[in-house]
Symmetry: C2
Subunit: 439 residues, 2 copies
């Protein structure tokens, strides 16, 4: 089993996995990167795909392109089914095959999924915003709703169809609520003659008495004021009790007639965390050492949203992209250090700040050195930083042009309802020819 | 039933229906435009979406955007189920409702669909290229095939997975074959280390002894030579007999191991033609008078691919976009003439030429005044004219930038496998609230 070059398996091509693989490119190890999608997704802009502002390909980057010039990085499109820690291999299911992939070091970075907390009907009737498919499904749904509302004579029904509810007062909730309101107000209202008399409602619901919990009070208040000045109805101190196809019932007893609930009020670790087979922490997260190694497993690292590591204040590091990136780089560097016989290093989070955008010229930012920005300045900072963070010149250009276009014209250009069935034979395994590869 | 303003129903927002509606915008009639999609598709560039060169939204334009400033044009997203000619209404099925829409004049422009001629397995296993969903399904399929080939140890199997067959020697067949070859040669070969030793084959099959039947011999020969110089294998005088998941059997007895058959060898009128309930012509097309009125129906016009009208040489007008556009404008103008009590006019086709592109710097064009162009000049002419024909500044800009990007980098930027299930409750009718609207 000994190999001249150690083999590092990375599960997940999100921010954590990608930065780990980047750190290992053209080093003395071989890397196999595994993901369910053939692309990395720039998740902070998913809400703009969902609200017709950007093309899906603008925020997706093919993994093979990223590593085109990295001779030691391979890619495998598939889902991890199980992990054999004794024999050090991972079982990966592709569309047609079961593969057994050997590792010397394993980095698991499968991220997080929407947490619906067993709320009645939420799983079936709500929309999440965790991956590109979610965003396209929500886009199609909203555009179909408006087509339907335009041909619905009943006034109450029409009102329900054009009432959009977003739950969660974090950045995703704020950004989605703001973008939905602008999509309606700047675009759809002008194109649906039958809706001119109907006021679209966008309602943002938050369980706490403030938005943006990790931010200072000044920015929380500013975000609330900016959202309300845009036209979004913000409801604080309120929780969802149950959801059906056509309404949402709140804990206070209030019922909202709506066909759209966007759930941005909770995430939990991906179920891949359970494959690690150690006692999990809150949110299904895997407890790790400061080196990002899993407590109780050898040669296995877990990073990003899936990992549970307490900071010096006793609270776990938040499920944020910068944490995932920095842990990904640390895990990769620690593996390299081990191959050289050096001591591993611990995680020290460099917090460069947090920001959230609310709509055209509206945002809040809490930057490095505790600089606070609001309104136009925060919005410009948000735009510039997100353009920089996007990967690849072509994606930056595409997103930039869409932003300029949307800003000048007030349009949202990707308003197409595009649905299709997958080609059926692709999903069938091919048992005669592609037997599981035995070790 | 009498209305001050006559109501014109247009079925189909393809080139014919769109140009009819454009001609009627801001006139003395009311227009209802009905389509299954909420966007118009620029079909000549579908093959570029299928080969990862363009975003779907680059060649799709929301119908409501086009008519945003036209006060007399309404849009309905739905499928025509039946037509009641006695009572002059059309029954339209939406996701959730059945609507009965009254007309004074009806223009049916539902276009054409792939004709699989009852060839064994073709319907199930081949890929068409008639709408945007087809293009995305083919794109996903090809990208998945290459992911699979990269992890297939068996050499024969690997070869079959990377062998792509295109059937049909018309422009769509040529363009698709050329673009598939370039996608592999310029992009995929560099990113799939496991495939370096495998030569991808792109095979173009044509039943006649020449490509591009309507073109002069000089251009047919040039197209053949350009395709072969690119690397595409062209097989003439050969037909498909049967297709399965993993091979194609030809009439000559040859069998090609392949998982991809793109069928560009035949179209027929949409099944909506049958709703007109008159004896149909070859290809299921509806016989019309030179005014574009249906023979044997009052106040009903059929235009474009669905219509059968013989030119002075006794041959029917071809199923081409310029014919559809010009018939759409004529039908609309004839309806306006009738509302004024004027005499209708007959169809005179203005043929501005035909062209087909084969790949980078490769094309043939047969233009107005019988100018023939080949190679680089034809390709530049093709690029410029297609940019002009695209609708909307934003789409032109998006396509132009992708073209420049792809030309400079040799890249194909939209290489994402994006599949998703539709949101289930959207498909359910809502019987309590949305009853069929009685007349």
């Amino acid at each position: 089993m000994a190999n001249e070059r150690p083999r590092v398996l990375i599960v997940g091509a999100g921010f954590g996995g990608l930065y780990a693989a980047q750190t290992l490119r053209n080093t003395s190890v071989d890397v196999l990167l595994i993901d369910r999608h053939n692309f990395h997704t720039f998740t902070p802009l998913l809400y703009q795909v969902a609200t017709s502002g950007l093309d899906p390909s603008g925020i997706a980057y093919p993994v093979r392109s990223i590593f085109r010039r990295a001779k030691n990085v391979e890619f495998l499109l598939g889902q991890v089914q199980s992990i054999d820690f004794d024999n050090r291999h991972v079982v990966v299911q592709t569309n047609t095959q079961t593969l057994y992939e050997q590792y010397d070091f394993l980095i698991v970075a499968a991220g997080s999924v929407t947490n619906t907390f067993n709320i009645d009907g939420l799983e079936q009737f709500s929309f999440g915003l965790k991956d590109l498919s979610d965003a396209v499904v929500l886009r199609n749904h909203i555009l179909k709703l408006f087509e339907r509302a335009a041909w619905t004579p009943d006034a109450d029904k029409k009102k329900a169809l054009t009432t959009l509810v977003v739950v969660g007062g974090g950045p995703t909730g704020l950004e989605t609520a703001g973008a939905l309101f602008e999509l309606y107000n700047n675009v759809l209202r002008q194109e649906y003659a039958g809706l001119n008399s109907t006021k679209t409602r966008v309602i943002l619901i938050e369980a706490m008495d403030h938005l943006l919990d990790p931010y200072p009070q000044y920015l929380r208040d500013s975000a609330l004021a900016q959202l309300r000045s845009l036209g979004v109805e913000v409801v604080l101190n309120e929780q969802v009790e149950a959801v059906t196809k056509d309404h949402v019932r709140l804990k206070s007893g209030t019922t909202i007639s709506t066909y759209t609930l966007v759930w941005a009020a909770g995430v939990k670790a991906s179920s891949v965390a359970q494959l690690i087979d150690v006692p999990l922490q809150r949110g299904g997260r895997v407890p790790i050492h400061p080196t990002t190694e899993v407590i109780g497993r050898n040669n296995v690292y877990v990073i990003g949203d899936m990992a549970y590591l307490e900071a010096t204040d006793g609270r776990p590091y938040p499920m944020l992209i910068p944490v995932a990136k920095q842990q990904g780089m640390l895990a990769a560097r620690n593996i390299l250090r081990r191959t050289k016989g050096w001591k591993q290093q611990g995680f020290h989070y460099i917090d460069r700040g947090i920001m959230a955008t609310i709509g055209r010229s509206r945002a809040v930012a809490w930057l490095y050195y505790r600089i606070t920005l609001t309104g136009y300045l925060a919005w410009i900072a948000w735009l510039i930083l997100h353009l920089i963070w996007l990967m690849g010149f072509r994606n930056r250009l595409s997103v930039f042009i869409n932003w300029v276009w949307n800003y000048i014209t007030y349009d949202r250009s990707v308003r197409i309802i595009l649905e299709h069935k997958p080609y059926a034979p692709d999903q069938e395994p091919d048992p005669q020819n592609e037997k599981p590869v035995a070790l």
